[in-house]
């Protein structure tokens, strides 16, 4: 089976692997020579599959790019158009970055608060726990675009003094905060739950209040295991800032909409893609690195 796959994917090495396999079964696995051939074969199989899949993937991508007289390439990868529209798109992308940074501050504050209220101990806090749980359930369950639409078009209609007079920019901040603070609260609560209860017990026994023991003892220790998942949600948030295009804010996506009509080309969207990748790929790498470091440290401390 594996030999067939190897031959189909990459003929030259696949054939050698297959002959090694045949030799191994001829010699038998109870001989040293047989086992050596078998090991060689398995190494070559992996190699063949690796080289083969790379060639096939590259080939398939090339096919897509060149098919139908390179229609896709001409639409999305017109270098001239990308170069011409990139400045205005990059300018729009600044709005995406600004939304991300400002919302993030509110999200972290709200997330910590929600997490603390959700794990508040004791019977008197039962309603608070219930309320925050309901909040988290609802906003984790809704698509973020729906939250943005409801907040932007809904709050305006209330005509309430503080809520109806602000700009769309701030409505979006509110919507993103509502949505992402629910996720953040879950991550923070999960991190705090992972710290053994005896740490909180020690803190409480010294006279610290619930909030003090969370602030000084539990959350600092939970921080390490919260970082990577939090960063992953931040990356999601960064991408979700592009949803403001639906309510007409001039972010990178909306500017690309305009430019693609002006230029009669889809290449401006490639500029948007480049902008996002420049931010999200390094963040993803950092998240992975943090996670790896945490695992290593946990192993080290036994």
């Amino acid at each position: 089976m594996a030999a067939v796959a190897a031959i189909v994917l990459f003929f030259p090495i696949g054939v050698v692997a297959a002959s090694d396999l045949a030799a191994a079964s001829r010699l038998g696995l109870d001989t040293t020579q047989g086992r050596i051939r078998r090991k060689k074969a398995s190494r070559r199989l992996t190699q063949a599959v690796g080289i083969g899949s790379t060639i096939w993937v590259v080939g398939f991508v090339a096919l897509i790019m060149l098919a139908n007289d390179a229609a896709l390439t001409r639409a999305f990868f017109d270098v001239e158009v990308i170069g011409r529209t990139l400045p205005t798109i990059a300018y729009g992308f600044m709005l995406n970055v600004r939304l991300f940074l400002v919302a993030e501050v509110f999200i972290l504050i709200a997330g910590v608060l929600l997490a603390l209220l959700r794990s508040l101990p004791g019977r008197p806090a039962i309603l608070l726990r219930w309320l925050t749980t309901a909040y988290v359930d609802v906003f984790r369950g809704l698509p973020s675009i729906l939250v943005i639409l409801i907040v932007v078009y809904g709050l305006k209609r209330t005509q309430l003094p503080l809520l109806s007079g602000i700009s769309d920019y701030w409505y979006v901040i509110i919507a993103l905060t509502l949505h992402y603070s629910a996720y953040t609260a879950e991550v923070i609560k999960g991190g705090a739950d992972g710290i053994h209860w005896s740490q909180a017990a020690a803190a409480r026994s010294l006279g610290l209040t619930y909030f003090q023991s969370m602030r000084y003892v539990v959350l600092p220790q939970a921080m390490r295991r919260m970082l990577a998942p939090l960063l992953n949600y931040f990356i999601g948030l960064q991408k979700d800032t592009s949803l403001v295009a639906v309510i007409g804010l001039l972010d990178s996506v909306n500017r690309a909409n305009v430019q693609s009509i002006n230029e009669a080309s889809l290449s401006p969207y490639t500029g948007v893609a480049l902008c996002f990748l420049v931010v999200t790929i390094p963040l993803t790498r950092v998240a992975d690195w943090l996670e790896k470091r945490r695992r290593r440290r946990e192993l080290a401390s036994g």
Partner: protein, 261 residues
């Protein structure tokens, strides 16, 4: 008046009744040891005194004040009673100094300098001043436990609860912790200990309570309790732990004990 009064305290976890009507008084400056098999409820009892565990019924009074009464502040009352745990429970992300000063700074609102002064004094007392800037994972179990005691003392409690504080320690370093506890006892600290160290209990305790299946079966002066218990369950428990203790000592090659056999 007794410093601590425990009146008919019941506590269960689901169907599992852990405390089935415990009543005991502890006088100021008294040292009381709770002994008994694992799971008998002695550790739970200590934790209820510190309000770390709620109780199902009964009353716990500290200096005459019910810790669970509507008009009393559990945080305020638990500050009068410090607790030291079997697993030390030092804060691993803080230096030794910060471990000790955290509560004085945040609860008693002492300034940094004042709190450090207090901590240094305690560190001298537990003979670990040179470790003040270390992190807990760099200390031995015995050193960690002495720091935990210093941390509890930093809140200037009137009473100390010691929950099997030597059970997680290697035999050869149990001594340094017990010596510190004996010192505190001789200075007049009111203490309640849950312990398996019978010889130590005999040495420091004013009174020993034998706890069995959530009840105090028998209590009395150490000598009488350990040598001539009245209740057969106490006798059975003692014969078992003392036999094990002797066995362990013999294996370690304590010449005195081997000679005594």
């Amino acid at each position: 008046m007794a410093f601590l009064e425990i009146r008919d305290v019941h506590k269960s976890y689901g169907d599992n009744a852990v405390l089935k009507g415990i009543s005991v008084d502890i006088e100021p400056h008294e040292v009381v040891c709770f002994i008994g098999p694992s799971g008998c409820g002695k550790s739970t009892l200590l934790r209820t005194i510190n309000a770390l565990e709620t109780i199902d019924s009964g009353r716990i009074l500290i200096e005459g004040q019910d810790i669970w009464a509507e008009d009393s502040d559990a945080d305020e009352l638990r500050m009068k009673v410090g607790i030291v745990f079997q697993q030390f429970n030092l804060f691993p992300h803080m230096s030794v100094l910060d471990n000790i000063t955290l509560a004085p700074r945040k609860v008693l609102r002492l300034g940094r300098a004042k709190a450090n002064e207090l901590a240094d004094e305690l560190l001298h007392r537990v003979r670990l001043y040179d470790k003040r800037n270390e992190y807990p994972d760099r200390l031995s179990g015995g050193q960690q436990q002495r720091i935990a005691i210093a941390r509890a003392l930093a809140m200037q409690p009137r009473m100390l609860l010691l929950d099997e504080v030597t059970s997680a320690l290697d035999p050869e370093i149990v001594g340094e912790v017990l010596a510190l506890i004996a010192e505190l006892a001789s200075e007049g600290m009111t203490m309640a200990l849950a312990t398996h160290e019978m010889n130590f209990a005999r040495e420091v305790a004013d009174r020993i309570c034998f706890v069995h299946q959530g009840r105090i079966v028998e209590q009395g002066a150490p000598d009488q309790m350990l040598t001539a218990p009245n209740d057969p369950r106490t006798a059975q428990f003692l014969s078992r732990v003392l036999a094990v203790g002797m066995h362990a000592k013999a294996r370690k090659g304590d010449p005195e004990d081997i000679a005594a056999q």
